[in-house]
């Protein structure tokens, strides 16, 4: 597995507050990488740094074998698709129109949607099982349906790297599982998928790789069973896990 996104000694700060300290990590292509950690551990910041939305104070990020600094704004937009936390539509666009926004990096100024754009939109809607309500307004959809359309928007970008920040946060359990299945599908298509998660059980069961962040440090990483070891859970989260036969986290309790 080659690393689509590599973090090399990355540090970042909001003013005087350090949020990432010397983090080394990688998002491999063809895998789902889960980023976990307590609130304020730097999960979102890690994604924002990779997107160039947040400056680094040290280190570098390499995206598809090219340092971030060498990417043009438009090039990076085609390489990285981003689904921010709490995504929503500020105007009640038709679901289809919203998904088509994902094609913006591929369109010249004032150019209409090309046939390839339409195809990408249709394919993204179909993969998210959202075709049925594609001509309804976002305001008329349920939260679960909206989440699928917003996810389809990120897919329509067609980027080889998909970064999703807490996509499961406001979904019911069935939709959470559906979302993780979508993420797995994208990884199976060869994409590098990185997702921040609060639910350790989801993370341990649906991710290939786990990065555990703690106060901006990289506390552990690797396969779920190894990265989410009892020692790490106790030290970073202050919890203990009950495990299934395969080592996956089944339930947690406070230490």
């Amino acid at each position: 597995m080659s690393a689509a996104v590599k973090f090399e000694g990355v540090s970042a700060a909001y003013g005087a507050r350090t949020v990432l300290a010397n983090v080394g990590a990688a998002f491999p292509a063809g895998a789902v990488t889960g980023i976990v950690g307590p609130n304020g551990a730097g999960k979102t910041t890690l994604l924002r740094v990779a997107l160039g939305l947040m400056p680094m104070s040290a280190g570098q990020v390499v995206v598809l074998d090219r340092p971030l600094a060498q990417w043009s704004r438009g090039g990076l937009a085609k390489a990285l698709a981003y689904l921010p936390q709490g995504s929503d539509a500020h105007w009640p666009l038709l679901a289809r129109e919203l998904v088509a926004l994902g094609r913006l990096p591929h369109r010249a100024a004032f150019a209409p949607l090309a046939a390839a754009d339409m195809q990408a939109v249709d394919a993204a809607l179909a993969r998210c099982d959202a075709t049925a309500f594609s001509s309804r307004r976002m305001s008329e959809l349920s939260a679960g349906e909206r989440a699928r359309v917003l996810f389809a928007r990120a897919l329509a970008t067609g980027a080889p790297v998909l970064l999703a920040d807490e996509p499961a946060a406001y979904l019911d359990p069935a939709h959470q599982l559906g979302l993780m299945a979508l993420l797995r599908d994208e990884a199976a298509r060869g994409k590098a998928v990185a997702v921040t998660l609060h639910d350790l059980s989801l993370a341990s069961r649906h991710c290939d790789e786990i990065i555990v962040l703690s106060e901006g440090h990289n506390a552990a990483q690797g396969a779920p069973a190894a990265a989410l070891s009892d020692a790490t859970l106790a030290q970073v989260f202050g919890i203990a896990a009950e495990r299934a036969g395969d080592g996956g986290v089944r339930a947690i309790r406070r230490l």
Binding site: P84, D88, W91, L104, L150
Partner: protein
């Protein structure tokens, strides 16, 4: 995409409506002149009909289009930037500040020395309040902050306008104050058109160039940036475009309010919600609304005592109220 036919039809209807309204505006006025004489007067008649056609009716009808287009497009773009249907040049204080700039230019004799200074000062005034909008939108301010800041800025600009008028020792200060607060196209001159049309056109083009970015902002700022949109540049173009168009329009017509709020809202039903699809139709729709309103006041009060802004505010203010109630119910 679906709806493209509806959008084309909407544009066509707006264009036809604009032509009819423009003709009505040209043909209707206090002086009772036959349409044939007026048209003849356009092309070289030397009598009263020629003077009225070329120096009064044509500039007034054309200026209505410029002012309406400026306000409609500005409203559509501001609503896109703030992702809020309450945003428009009047509510955000841009027109009041443009009026202040114009008053300073006129009553301190600057515009008499160099007529170009009138639109320049108005645009600078508009830029001042638009700069505040820029800062607000950069900090992700919500609708309430935007409206309240608009109230504060507009109150201050109105007070400063009154102050400037009283310092100017102008016997017509009170009448002029009403003009700057309510707006009017009465006494439009051909030169008004030359000074307001070019900045308005440039402003609307700037706003249109920001359309894609405004669409992307529907997803939020960071998602828009991840789509390759330079959000800072989008903000700058909206603020600059609004200042140019609204500033130039206000310099000639005073503060005509609510056009920028009503027009995009009505057109969303036909053109869709994407901001980029609303800017040009809103320019057309604003032109239709202002032209029709300007014809209406001449029919209601042929003596010319009714001001344009009175009519737009009487239509727009209840609409504003209704919109607030509806937004509250939705959230």
């Amino acid at each position: 995409m679906e709806g493209a036919a509806t959008r084309r039809l909407t544009m066509l209807v707006l264009l036809v409506a604009l032509v009819i309204a423009f003709l009505a505006s040209f043909l209707i006025g206090p002086a009772d002149i036959a349409p044939g004489d007026l048209f003849a007067g356009l092309f070289g008649g030397h009598g009263a009909a020629g003077v009225i056609a070329r120096s009064l009716r044509l500039p007034r009808a054309a200026l209505a289009i410029v002012v309406g287009a400026a306000l409609g497009a500005s409203g559509a773009a501001l609503q896109g930037l703030f992702r809020n249907p309450l945003a428009e040049p009047g509510v955000t204080g841009v027109t009041s500040c443009a009026g202040l700039g114009a008053v300073v230019a006129i009553y301190f004799g600057l515009a008499a020395r160099q007529p170009l200074l009138l639109p320049v000062f108005a645009i600078m005034g508009a830029l001042g309040s638009a700069g505040i909008l820029y800062l607000l939108s950069r900090r992700g301010a919500g609708a309430i902050a935007m409206v309240l800041a608009g109230v504060a800025v507009a109150s201050l600009a109105t007070a400063l306008t009154a102050l400037a008028l009283s310092f100017a020792h102008n016997p017509y200060a009170m009448a002029d104050m009403v003009f700057w607060m309510m707006g009017s196209l009465k006494d439009s001159k051909p030169s008004d058109l030359y000074f307001s049309a070019p900045p308005t056109v440039i402003g609307i083009l700037l706003l249109m160039s920001a359309g894609r970015g405004l669409d992307a902002l529907t997803l939020g700022e960071e998602a828009a940036q991840s789509l390759g949109i330079d959000v800072g540049s989008v903000r700058g173009r909206v603020v600059g475009g609004v200042a140019l168009a609204t500033g130039a329009a206000t310099a000639m017509a005073g503060a005509v309010s609510f056009v920028g709020m009503v027009v995009p809202h009505v057109l969303r039903r036909f053109c869709g919600y994407e901001p980029s699809r609303l800017i040009l139709p809103s320019a057309l729709g604003g032109a239709v609304l202002v032209t029709v309103a300007d014809v209406a006041i001449r029919l209601i009060a042929p003596d010319g005592q009714l001001l344009l802004g009175v009519v737009t505010a009487m239509l727009g203010a209840p609409f504003f109220f209704w919109l607030i109630i509806r937004l509250r119910m939705e959230s």
